[in-house]
Assembly symmetry: C2
Homo-oligomer: 133 residues x 2
Amino acid sequence: MSGFILHPRLDADTAFVVDWPLCRVLAMRDARYPWAVLVPRREAVEVFDLDEKDRAVLVEEVARAAQGLKRLSDASKINIGALGNLVPQLHVHVVARNPGDAAWPGPVWGQGTAVAHAPGALEDFVRRLVNGL
Amino acid sequence: MSGFILHPRLDADTAFVVDWPLCRVLAMRDARYPWAVLVPRREAVEVFDLDEKDRAVLVEEVARAAQGLKRLSDASKINIGALGNLVPQLHVHVVARNPGDAAWPGPVWGQGTAVAHAPGALEDFVRRLVNGL
């Protein structure tokens, strides 16, 4: 999809994983949680800015990411969120959660600050996402 | 859908709005935000517990609620979230957000405590949802 430009803040906060038919899949640079972000390669702010066909693909890609992340991380719950209060480009967070994690049982958004991965750990996580989602 | 039982915590925190083909639509008892909750009338915890057909309906019903809530409330942004860390029954929050609201730009979940509606205001909100979503 030529013409797609990832929002600079999403670009800074994530690493590239893979392009699926609709979404760019990203890995959040935050070692506190296994955390993927899906960005439809479309001009959209709200989910209703996508057409119905794209929405059907979006929910399938979100479900695929959620199931893969749960399997990869053995999480007890997957949190899904499309907020966009700070970054208007439509993006969907898919986050693996467990009792005792840094924000449990609250949401991850706006809680504390991101923790950098140990050397190599982000690359390992990206590789596991590429192979496991 | 006989056999559907709303989780007691969702039941306590919301008022009934309408049943759509897949989801029960609820209004959150929190005057801080125009806030709807969609609960698929299925046995599901994660979005991938639904089959593909139900997922396609879910995303359409979420988009319909989001667009209607934005129109009704003139919100600047709609937040969508499926967390479920406390209530395992699959449910999707659709929340109208504006700069200056009680949690802006953070998420609404886990922020402060719900504010009761003024007398009649919840019933008014439910009526607007029934007519406007």
